[in-house]
């Protein structure tokens, strides 16, 4: 691999995404992408006693499903990168404690999945044969940690987003068939002073813009090079802002750009306001929907930019602004 420009790595032997898996919750199962996910759950608990246990089970089963789909024995998977939104990333560490694969826990808020893909790609190019990465989120456990009890009769602002219940996972290998990770652009932390925790899209959009433009500058590519440019969870408002801001900077992404948070729910029927969010949003939409498009050869070049809001409930109560992050990964057939 070699460094391009300021923030991009180009892979000389691009790692192959040999297998993916996704499991989502009941609300996502009623959304427009339901048919693409490997498993749709009927309730948020999935037979567990707590939401935290349920989220751990979701990530565990998604990883197991991905390994069995790939046909690679788990003894040949050298590293696992995983993360989620709960304090100290307990969903992934509890869910994957029986996995028996060297485990590196990561946190990038909702950008975790692409952070995991990037690290897996680096380690596969460097030394490993196979690496697996996973990310999960759960609407109920996230609401409990970041907002109010579920049964509280309050109203959500129009700018708020709906945390996706679900997990996505991918196995990257040195050899095999499938789309390849050709470039990664790791983002810088960008904070434009947004303090409203109910408007994450606006807080993260400047970070997405920074990474997007940096990717184009470093690689010398233009937006039209890609069949699709997809952000993780900017939602309707963040998507709108990103289109605006990138046009300001001279990049027209309007025709081939979309957002996983916009795609996963039907805004009018499902009352999700500004769209989906959470680690599981980008992870499940990529692992479910986009990977299948690659398999059907309907998609050849994808730029996936996962966005994260690096805050917690204490920082917002103390009046801190929300630092945003975005990591981009270029996946090509």
């Amino acid at each position: 691999m070699e460094k391009l420009g300021c923030q991009t790595i180009k892979f000389n032997n691009p790692p192959v995404i040999t297998s993916t898996a996704s499991i989502v919750g009941p609300k996502e199962s009623n959304g427009p992408l339901a048919q693409y996910f490997d498993k749709c759950l009927e309730d948020e608990f999935w037979g567990e006693k707590t939401w935290e246990k349920s989220e751990s089970k979701i990530i565990k089963e998604t990883v197991n499903l991905c390994i069995s789909k790939s046909g690679i024995p788990s003894s040949e998977i050298d590293y696992c990168f995983a993360g989620d939104l709960l304090n100290q990333c307990i969903s992934s560490s509890f869910g994957l404690r029986g996995l028996n694969i060297p485990f590196l826990g990561i946190f990038g808020a909702c950008s975790t999945f692409v952070e995991g893909l990037s690290l897996s790609a680096i380690i596969v190019e460097a030394c490993a044969k196979n690496a697996i990465c996973a990310a999960s989120s759960h609407f109920c456990s996230a609401e409990k940690q970041f907002r109010f009890p579920l049964e509280l009769g309050n109203q959500r602002p129009q700018t708020s987003q709906w945390t996706v219940t679900g997990a996505g996972t991918a196995i990257l290998s040195k050899t095999g068939n499938g789309p390849r990770v050709t470039h990664i652009t790791s983002g810088k932390i960008v904070d434009m002073g947004i303090k409203d925790a109910n408007n994450m899209g606006a807080a993260m959009a400047p970070a997405a813009l920074d990474t997007l433009i940096c990717h184009f500058k470093d690689t010398g590519r233009s937006p039209s090079y890609y069949d699709a440019i997809i952000t993780g969870d900017l939602g309707y408002i963040g998507k709108d802002i990103l289109i605006d801001l990138s046009a300001d900077k001279g990049y027209n992404i309007k025709s081939n750009y979309n957002d996983c948070g916009v795609m996963i729910f039907d805004k009018d029927k499902q009352d999700t306001h500004s769209g989906g969010s959470g680690c599981g949003c980008c992870a499940s939409v990529f692992s479910g929907y986009f990977y299948k498009l690659f398999q059907e050869k309907k998609l050849k070049r994808l730029l996936l930019i996962a966005t994260g809001a690096l805050m917690n409930s204490t920082s917002s109560q103390q009046g801190e602004s929300i630092p945003g992050i975005a990591h981009a990964i270029s996946i090509e057939l």
Binding site: F148, Q155, L209, L245
Partner: protein, 154 residues
């Protein structure tokens, strides 16, 4: 306009981009649902009084019944839907207070009865209690100072 020039400009740009809550619709729903809850309370009060109970006892019965209904509906996953529809209409009457105590109790039951239910039950209602009681103490002191008759009454 360059929205990314400064944080202030970006904030103004974001405010312009972000849709507002449908305030007229929310006010209307809050008005009639809130009114309905109060009417139900009044009906219970009148029934109690017509059975020969005093005003004070009837008022207490109204509170108990409304709190009971609200807590029950919270447990059935119904009150949050009413609250989403009616906003302050169901939140400001005593029904909202009951909901704000029962919902964290349900949420944190997974952390056990002592530290979960007991410790977290007032996370939402706590501020209302603290400042409600503080405000009534201050008002009481002012009343004592300016109403000398009150002192003789006490």
């Amino acid at each position: 306009m360059k929205p990314l020039d400064s944080q202030k400009e970006y904030q103004e740009y974001v405010n312009k981009k972000s849709p507002n809550s449908p305030i007229l619709k929310n006010c209307f729903n809050a008005f009639w649902v809130g009114g309905l809850i109060c009417t139900i309370g009044q009906i219970i009060l009148n029934i109690c009084k017509s059975r020969g109970l005093s005003q004070d006892v009837s008022g207490t019965i109204v509170s108990i019944i409304l709190i009971g209904i609200s807590a029950f509906l919270t447990g059935l996953n119904v009150f949050n839907k009413i609250g989403k529809f009616a906003g302050a209409g169901s939140l400001v009457p005593i029904t909202g207070f009951a909901n704000s105590v029962v919902s964290p109790a349900m949420e944190y039951k997974s952390e056990g009865y002592i530290m979960g239910v007991g410790g977290k039950m007032f996370t939402v209602a706590g501020p209302v209690l603290v400042f409600g009681i503080s405000a009534s103490i201050i008002v009481g002191i002012i009343y004592l100072i300016f109403n000398t008759q009150a002192i003789t009454l006490v």
